[in-house]
Symmetry: C2
Subunit: 318 residues, 2 copies
DNA sequence: ATGAAAGCGCTAACAT
DNA sequence: ATGTTAGCGCTTTCAT
C-alpha cells in the first residue's frame, strides 16, 4: 500500500525502532541519519498520523467547530486560530454545523472519532449539551464568542456589553442624543449583551429606540430605512453586528444620509467593507487576532493539564 | 484511556470481533444486538477512526483544500461539497493555505498524514506541483474552479469564457454599446477567461475598455470611479468577480449612477449582497450547488477506481 | 545508538 | 452467529 516505516527500515538496513527514534528526536548516528533522510526523500515517506496517534494517544490536531462557514466572523476567527496552532505544530480539523445543534452534536463525535486532542467551538446555542460526549471523555474544550452554562469548558469572549456601552457613550459624547439601536435576536448572547450596553449608555438620556435587524444585511437595511423614515429627527444609529452594519450603510447611502455633525453611525466588525461603503463612520472592532491566539493558547494549556479559564477581551472603537 | 471495543466486549460478554461485525452490518443475534447497543449507550463508546482506517486503508474522510477561508466563493463551495459528501457518509477535513503554494504543499501532506481517501482542491496556482506527494501515491484528486496542467487529476470548472461572453452579449442585445470590463489579474485562470469572453463579445463593436480591479472590493470601487469619471459616455460595466462587483456597486451608488435605460451593470456571483445594494443589475451566477455535488461525486467515483474526468458547467445570468 | 518485542483499537480471514 | 488469531503502522520499554 503506502510507504511505511518498515520500507525505510529495509531501505536503510536499520530497524523500525531506530527510524521512529529519528522522528522523535532521539540521537541517531549522523551516518544513519543521513541514510534515513535520503530514504525518506527517495520513497516519499509520509508518516501515518493514525498509527502514531493510536500509539501515543495524541493526534496533534485539534477540532474547530463553527456554526457557519459562510459567516465571516467565524472564518476570520478560524484563520487566526489556525495561525496560532500552526506555530505549535498542531493541525486543524474544521467542521461547521449550519447552526444546527443536532449537527453540532454529530460534528463533536466526528472530531472525537478522529481523536482530536481538544476542541475549539463557537457554539450554535447557549447550551453545551452537544459537547456532552466530549466532556464525558474530559476532552479539553474552549468555547468562543458566547458563554455556555458549562463550568467544565473554557470561554474566550469579548466584553460585548461594555463594547456596546462604549460605542454609544462615544456617540453621546460627540453630542448626538437621539440614537437608535439595530440589534439581533435577544436569544443570542452577543446580541443581548450589546443591546444591554446600548441601554446602559442611553439610560440617562431618556431616549431609547430599538429595532430588530435579525443579524442580516437585509434586516439591517430594512430596519434602518424604517427608522430613518419614521423618525426624521434621529441623530444616530448603532448596529450590533457585521451584517446589519452593512445593511445600514447601504440604506444610508441610498437615502443620501451622510455621516456628519448631524448624524452618526457606529457599526460592528466590518473592517474591510465599511470604510469604503461609508467613510466617516465608527466601528466596534473585535480583537480577532488576540481572540484566536488566546483560544489556541488556552486549549493547548488545557491539553497539557491546565485549568479551565474564562477570558474576556475588550473591543476597540475605530 | 478511552472506551474501546474491548470494553464493549467485556460489558456484553461478547468478543471484539462480534462487536466489529455489528458495526459493519453483519448479522448479529437480536438479543446481542440489543446488549451491544445498550453498552454503547452506557459507556459512551465512539469508534476510533484511526484504528479503523489503519486496518481498512479507508478513512471515509476526504480533504478539502482551499486558498482562503475568508473567500466567500470558497466557503460556499465547501459548504456544498460537505453537503454532498455527508450523504455518502464521508467526513471532511478542511484546510486553507492562504493562497500560499508552500503552505498548499504542506497542507496536502497534512491531509495525507490523516490518510484521507481523496482531495478536493481549489488550487492556489495553475500548477499542480503542490499535489505531487498525493499524485505519487495515486491519491484521487479533484481540482475546482481552475485548471491545472496535470492529466492525473479531475477538474470541475465553469465555462468562464462563455459566461463572460454571454454576459456582455446580453448587454449588447439590450442596446448598450460602450461597455467596460473590470477584471482581475490575468495570471488567474478565471480572470483571464472571463476577460477573454468580454473581448470575444465586444470584438464586433470596435469598442474595448478594460481596467484592472485586482479582484478586490477596493479595486473594483476605484476602477469603477476612474472609468465613470474619465468616460462619462460609458454605457455599461462588466465586473468579473464577486469582490469587484461589490466595489462597483458601491461606486455606482455613491455617484448616483442608476441602472436604467442608459446604463447597465453586470456583476459576478454576489447573490446575497448585490440585489439589495444595486437593484436592477444583472449577475453571472455560478452553479455552486452543482459544482460541489459534481466534484464530490467525481472524487468518490475516483476513490472507487473511476477515471479522471474533466467537467465544465455553465453559469446562468440573473 | 540500535534491535527485539509488545501493543494501541480495530478488522478480516478462518474456524467453530 | 460468534470466537480465534493475526496484523495495519507506529511507538515504547527493555536489552544489547
Amino acid at each position: 500500500m503506502s510507504i511505511t516505516i518498515k520500507d525505510l527500515a529495509r531501505e536503510t538496513g536499520l530497524t523500525a525502532a531506530t527510524i521512529s527514534a529519528y522522528f522523535n528526536g532521539a540521537s541517531v548516528r549522523p551516518y544513519n541519519k543521513e541514510k534515513i533522510e535520503k530514504a525518506i526523500e527517495k520513497l516519499g515517506y509520509i508518516r501515518n498520523d493514525y498509527a502514531r496517534a493510536l500509539r501515543t494517544h495524541r493526534s496533534m490536531t485539534v477540532g474547530v467547530l463553527i456554526p457557519e462557514l459562510a459567516n465571516t466572523f467565524c472564518t476570520q476567527l478560524v484563520t487566526e486560530i489556525e495561525e496560532a496552532l500552526r506555530l505549535k505544530r498542531y493541525g486543524l480539523i474544521i467542521c461547521d454545523c449550519r447552526s444546527n445543534p443536532e449537527r453540532e452534536r454529530e460534528a463533536v463525535r466526528f472530531l472525537q472519532s478522529k481523536t482530536v486532542d481538544g476542541i475549539i467551538i463557537i457554539p450554535a446555542t447557549d447550551s453545551a449539551s452537544s459537547l456532552s460526549s466530549a466532556l464525558a471523555k474530559s476532552l479539553p474544550v474552549v468555547a468562543m464568542d458566547r458563554y455556555t452554562e458549562s463550568r467544565e469548558i473554557s470561554h474566550v469572549v469579548v466584553s460585548n456589553r461594555k463594547a456596546g456601552r462604549n460605542a454609544v457613550e462615544d456617540m453621546l459624547d460627540r453630542g448626538f442624543r437621539k440614537i437608535a439601536a439595530i440589534h439581533g435576536e435577544e436569544s443570542l448572547f452577543t446580541a443581548r449583551e450589546r443591546l444591554a450596553g446600548y441601554r446602559e449608555a442611553m439610560a440617562g438620556t431618556g431616549f431609547s429606540l430599538t429595532a430588530l435587524g435579525g443579524n442580516s444585511v437585509q434586516g439591517g437595511y430594512e430596519a434602518a430605512k424604517m427608522l430613518l423614515s419614521s423618525r426624521p429627527d434621529l441623530q444616530g444609529i448603532f448596529a450590533t453586528n457585521y451584517e446589519m452594519s452593512i445593511g445600514v450603510a447601504i440604506a444610508l447611502k441610498e437615502m443620501g444620509k451622510a455621516i456628519d455633525d448631524s448624524f452618526a453611525f457606529t457599526g460592528f466588525d466590518s473592517v474591510k467593507m465599511l470604510p469604503v461603503l461609508c467613510p466617516g463612520m465608527r466601528m466596534v472592532v473585535q480583537p480577532m487576532h488576540e481572540l484566536g491566539a488566546v483560544a489556541a493558547e488556552t486549549l493547548l494549556a488545557m491539553i497539557d493539564g491546565g485549568p479551565v479559564r474564562n477570558i474576556v477581551l475588550d473591543c476597540s472603537l475605530v
